[in-house]
Amino acid sequence: MTGFVDLYSENDTFLHRLDPRVKILSVLLLSLLAFVLSTLYSLVVLLAFIFLLLFLSRASLSRTWFALRFVLRFMTLIVILWPIFDSAGTPVWATLGPIKITEPAVWRGFTSAARVGCLACVWYILMFTTSQRDLVRALVRMGLRFDYGLTIAISLRFFPSFMATIYSIIDAQRARGLEFNRGGLIKRSRKYVAVLVPAVVSALRTADSLSLALQSRAYGAKARRTYLRQLKMRRSDFAALAIVTALFVVPFVAKYVFFVHI
């Protein structure tokens, strides 16, 4: 359950050590790059590069597989469906009733799948190597208002215990004889009300005591607060940012200034 929200695993690779702001910027740049590139070859090269990084993040295999499974399924789906809905171009490879499968469409399917793969995996790298705490911290340092950052952090923190509450309420209601998988749709949804109402009440109560806790810890006391941990860009952070920027700018200029087809 927590694995669903938090893909981070602790480790000590250069990707883990990188300043989270650099990681966020890099991921944004590489995502944009996936849109700049338009040939299958260049996208495959980018995908290979991203896979290399993913490999270097040394996330456990089971976790990587858990994450990649969805992406691979989605990519397969694109490859299969694309030529069915896109019939532009020649030569035509096959005709099945009204459906025309053309060679360029098949390649376009692969291209799009590669692009989706790049987009998904590059974000996975960020999630694998950056703790939620660093992510929130970086967002705040990049200009997100502290209250929003705190809200995100609190939601992430309380999501698992909210789910745990729901499950324990389901168990309690079951113990009282409520059968959840009986009856029609309406009957069933009515049973779930018996779960949702106590869950929401308990969430509200939590929110109430949280707000007291926040206030008693001087939340909002000063217009400008200080921070114990500051993010500091080191030489390696600047280097990484420079490399990723170059990776983005060179193809961008090549494509839009020199009209190279990449």
């Binding site: 309380f158 007291l212 008693s216 810890r217 200080t226 114990l228």
Partner: protein, 287 residues
């Protein structure tokens, strides 16, 4: 100057049909450790939140009478100002920890108060050391045990350098060992750091031996205040307002029914053991 001075305080929550505190007068000296004892609904939490300014600043409540903490009227100061004087720790450790690491949790208060970075760092180490969580800086609070969470909540309050710590039923969710650790920590805070401590609780079992004074509350009124022995020795007055008597006095009660030799007075096992020993000695010489 008193740490807390309440004079004829009556409090009623907005929308409530009766007073939660009625004409309560109560004082705490600086450096004193006081147990606020009362059954459910006696008004302990209300008094705790008044001492910290959460009432009326965060929870709407009509107030009569006057409340001062360290010589300053609570209604004149916002809660944030109060928190630097009076820290509060609630019953449920879970809902007062909201950061992603132990260190951030402790740093949260001083950060809000815009304390310097070096100073925050010192305070964090200091507070974690006191509560016995040194070296836990990067652990997520959710990975701690119940007792550790409660001590983390105390550290998070201590880092704001309050002069008084108010704890609302801090032992409620703890096992017996957790309780003993908690009370030894609180005693330490009082003795070594001169902190004024107010503990609210529904029973006096562990607190009896370490507090200076007990304040007994029932149905929004302050019944009596006095030394632990004065308030806790006799079981009947406690029972009549729904507070469980000490196990020691229950034992004396049971012994008294058989032998009529024992009188209420001992509140510790040691003291009672002394009395029993004497009685046995006398019984020996009788023969």
């Amino acid at each position: 100057m008193k740490a807390l001075k309440m004079c004829e305080v009556t409090a009623r929550y907005r929308g409530a049909d009766r007073d939660s505190l009625s004409r309560v007068s109560f004082e705490i000296e600086k450096g004193e450790m006081v147990l606020l004892l009362g059954a459910r609904g006696a008004g302990k939490s209300t008094l705790c939140m008044l001492a910290n300014g959460l009432i009326p600043h965060a929870i709407p409540c009509t107030l009569e009478g006057s409340i001062e903490t360290f010589g300053r009227d609570i209604s004149s100061l916002p809660v944030a100002e109060h928190s630097t004087k009076v820290g509060i720790v609630f019953q449920e450790p879970e809902n007062q920890l909201f950061c992603m690491s132990v260190e951030e949790e402790v740093a949260f208060g001083p950060e809000n108060l815009a304390v310097d970075r070096e100073e925050i760092s010192e305070r964090v180490e200091w507070a974690l050391e006191i509560v016995g969580l040194k070296g836990y800086n990067d652990r997520p609070p959710s990975s701690l045990s119940g007792g550790q969470k409660q001590r983390l909540a105390i550290a998070a309050s201590l880092s704001m350098r309050p002069e008084m710590l108010v704890l609302d039923e801090p032992a409620y969710a703890l096992d017996p060992i957790g309780r003993l650790e908690l009370y030894s920590l609180l005693t330490d805070l009082k003795r070594r750091h001169g902190l004024t401590v107010l503990i609210a609780g529904r029973d006096a079992e562990e607190a009896a031996t370490c507090v200076d004074r007990v304040a007994l509350m029932s149905a929004g009124r302050m019944v009596r205040t006095g030394t632990p022995a004065e308030i806790l020795a006799a079981p009947e007055p406690l029972r009549s307002i729904g507070v469980p008597p000490l196990q020691v006095s229950e034992l004396i009660e049971a012994l008294g029914k058989k032998a009529k030799r024992f009188e209420y007075g001992a509140i510790t096992v040691d003291a009672l053991a002394g009395q029993i020993g004497e009685a046995l000695g006398e019984a020996g010489t009788d023969r």
